[in-house]
Amino acid sequence: MISLKSVSHSYAGQKDIGFSDWQINDGEQWLLLGESGSGKTTLLHILTGILKPKQGEVNINDTSIYGLSSKDLDQFRGRNIGIIFQRPHLIKSLSISENLVLAQSFAKLPTDLKRVNAVLDSLGIENKKNAYPDELSQGQLQRVSIARAVINKPALLIADEPTSSLDDKNAKVVLDLLMQQSGANQATLVVATHDKRVKDAFNNTYELS
C-alpha cells in the first residue's frame, strides 16, 4: 500500500505546490493526469524517493521513505520501485543483459540470469540480450527500460510519460506491456501522462489541477 499524506513542495523562490492525499492499494493501476507544468514530475519524484518534499509523508509498504538515510533510501528504491522514463536511458557501455544485471546488483540482490532471460523473453527481446543499446531501435529500447524497471519485482512501478513520443500504435503496445508486466509482477502501476489516448485504459485517476 502506498500513501501520500499532506505533501507539499516548493522550489527555491516559487510558491508552494500542494498535493491532495492519495492512497494506492496493492495491485491497483493508476493514471496520474496533469498538464505540463502542473507538478506531475515533481509528484513522481516525491513518490519515488528522488525528491524530498518540504512537508508531508510518503509511505510505501509501511515504510516512511523520507525517514530513511540517503543510502538506505537508494537501496529501498532499487528494490521496491521500478521507474520507466520518457526516454529509455540505458547505460551505453553495457550490453542489454548487463544493464539488467546492473539493476540487480545496485539493489544489492544476487545476480539472477534466469530472471534476466525470463523478463526479456516476456517482452519479446530475449534475442537482443547481448546487443548494446546503440544497436537497438527506439521501440526495443523502451521494452528494455520496462524490463529494467520490473527486474527486481518492485512493489511500485512508475512510468513517466511512457507514450508521449510514440505513435498511436506503439503507444498502445507500450501501455499493454506496462499493464501486463505490472500484473505479472504483482506491482502497483502509476502512469503519469498528459496523453489523453491512454485515459480509457485506467479506472483510477489522480488528477493534478
Binding site: T42, D74, Q75, H89, L94, F106, A107
Partner: protein
C-alpha cells in the same frame, strides 16, 4: 556488478580518448623509469669500479681525466709518472696497497693493462680457467673480453698502440692468453691484464728506431722507455724524458688508515710533480655534471605527467557531463552516492595505473634497447634490472589518478538527481 567493472566498461566504450590518456601517462612514466634506472646503474657502476680505491696518483692534468682513464678506462691517460717516484710513494706509511698501472695499448679496442698482483688483490679477482699472468707477454683476460673477442686459453694476439684502433700493431711480440677471469660485474670484465714489463718491452721494440742500446731480456734503463705516449694536450716538461728510470701511467692507492685522507693527497700534490685524485670526489663531480641533464629531463617528464593528469581530468569531466543522466539513472536503480563516487574515481585510477604499468615496461625495454647499441661495454646499461624505487612510480600514478578524478567524482557524489531527471 562491481563499480570497477562498470568503470572498466565505460572506459572501453571510449577507446580513443582512453588510449590517449594512457599514452600520455605511459610516456611520462617511461622517461622517469629510464632516468631512474640509468642514473642508478651508472652510480652503481661508478661505485663498483672504485670500491676499494681511495686515491689515484698520476701525471698532472685534469683529475677527472685521471680517474676516467685509470678507474673506468674510458678517457685517455693524463701522461706518465716516473717509476722511481711512484715506488717511493707506494712505500709511504700512509699507503696500505699501491697498484701500478701501465696503459697504452689495445687489442681491438680492449685495453691492455700492465700491472702486478696488487691489482688482483684490490679488485679481488679470481680466475675462471687457466691462471694469472706470470711471465712476460702472458695475459689474463676479463670474461667479457673472452666472450666478445672469442679468445680462449693458449690463443695469441698482437697488441696495437693507442687506446683504440689497430693501425699501429706491435708485431715484435705477441701476447698469449693464460687465464680468463670470473665475471666481476665491473670494469675488469673488459680488460686484458699483463705484467708491466711486457708493456715496457713492447714499446722498447716500438722505439728501436731511436738510437739506443738494447739488450734483450734485461731490465732496461733506456731513456725513451715509456709505458705510454699519449699526452693529450699535456706538455710534459722536457726533463721528464731525461729522467732516469721507467715510467708508469698511474698508481691506484688504498690507504692504511682514514687519517691518510687528510695528509696523503696534499703531500702528493705539493711535494711531487704528480697529482692525486680521489675517485669518490671526481665521481661525484662527474655525476653533478651529468645531473643537470638528468634534472632537465626529470622536469620534462614531470611536466608530461602533469599534462596527462589534466588530460585525464578533462576526459572525466567531459564524460561526466554526458553521463550525468546515466549516473542519475544508476541512483534510481539503487546505487548510493558513494558508489557513483567510486565508479568515477576508479576510472581515473584505471587510466593512470594502466599508463604507469605500460610506461615502466616501455622504460625497461627502451633502456635494454639503448644498452644493446652502446659502444662502450664498460658502461653498458641493462633494462632487465628492477628497482624498489619503481614502487614510487606506481604510487605517483595512483596519486595522479585520484587527483584527476577527485573533482568529477565529488560532482557525481553531489549531483541532484531530481533536477537532472526533470530536465529531460
Amino acid at each position: 556488478m562491481s563499480p570497477l567493472k562498470i568503470s572498466w566498461k565505460s572506459l572501453w566504450s571510449k577507446p580513443l580518448s582512453s588510449a590517449l590518456n594512457i599514452m600520455l601517462i605511459a610516456f611520462g612514466t617511461g622517461i622517469l623509469t629510464i632516468l631512474l634506472l640509468a642514473s642508478n646503474q651508472i652510480a652503481q657502476k661508478l661505485d663498483n669500479n672504485s670500491k676499494d680505491i681511495d686515491l689515484v696518483v698520476g701525471a698532472k692534468g685534469s683529475p677527472l681525466q685521471l680517474i676516467l682513464s685509470s678507474i673506468y678506462y674510458i678517457d685517455f691517460p693524463t701522461g706518465n709518472i716516473p717509476l722511481k717516484e711512484a715506488t717511493a710513494l707506494a712505500r709511504s706509511p700512509f699507503v696500505k696497497r699501491a697498484v701500478p698501472l701501465a696503459l697504452g695499448d689495445n687489442y681491438n679496442g680492449t685495453r691492455i693493462v700492465g700491472t702486478d698482483s696488487n691489482f688482483v688483490g684490490i679488485y679481488k679477482l679470481k680466475v675462471q680457467s687457466g691462471k694469472f699472468w706470470d711471465k712476460d707477454f702472458e695475459t689474463t683476460i676479463g670474461s667479457g673480453v673472452a666472450e666478445s673477442q672469442k679468445l680462449k686459453i693458449g690463443d695469441t694476439f698482437y697488441g696495437a698502440h693507442g687506446l683504440t684502433g689497430n693501425s699501429d700493431v706491435h708485431k715484435s711480440h705477441k701476447y698469449t692468453v693464460s687465464g680468463i677471469l670470473e665475471p666481476q660485474g665491473n670494469v675488469t670484465d673488459n680488460l686484458i691484464l699483463t705484467n708491466i714489463a711486457s708493456v715496457w718491452k713492447m714499446h722498447d721494440e716500438h722505439e728501436e728506431g731511436e738510437a739506443h742500446e738494447h739488450k734483450d731480456g734485461e731490465a732496461h734503463e733506456h731513456k725513451e722507455a715509456e709505458a705510454h705516449e699519449h699526452k693529450e694536450g699535456e706538455s710534459h716538461p722536457k726533463d721528464e724524458h731525461s729522467d732516469e728510470g721507467k715510467e708508469l701511467t698511474s698508481l691506484l692507492i688504498q690507504y692504511r688508515s682514514p687519517m691518510s685522507v687528510a695528509m696523503f693527497p696534499r703531500m702528493v700534490n705539493e711535494t711531487t710533480n704528480m697529482q692525486a685524485a680521489s675517485p669518490a670526489q671526481e665521481s661525484t663531480r662527474l655525476f653533478s655534471l651529468i645531473g643537470v641533464g638528468v634534472e632537465t629531463l626529470q622536469w620534462f617528464a614531470v611536466l608530461i605527467m602533469l599534462i596527462a593528469a589534466i588530460s585525464v581530468f578533462v576526459n572525466l569531466y567531459n564524460s561526466l557531463k554526458e553521463r550525468k543522466y546515466d549516473l542519475a539513472i544508476m541512483r534510481t536503480l539503487g546505487a548510493s552516492r558513494g558508489k557513483l563516487f567510486l565508479i568515477v574515481i576508479a576510472e581515473g585510477i584505471i587510466l593512470t595505473l594502466a599508463g604507469t604499468i605500460i610506461g615502466i615496461v616501455l622504460g625497461h625495454l627502451a633502456l635494454q634497447f639503448i644498452g644493446n647499441y652502446q659502444e662502450s661495454s664498460q658502461a653498458r646499461l641493462s633494462g632487465l634490472i628492477f628497482l624498489k624505487d619503481e614502487i614510487y612510480l606506481f604510487v605517483a600514478g595512483l596519486a595522479i589518478g585520484i587527483f584527476a578524478a577527485i573533482i568529477p567524482a565529488i560532482q557525481a557524489y553531489r549531483s541532484n538527481i531530481s533536477r537532472i531527471l526533470s530536465k529531460n
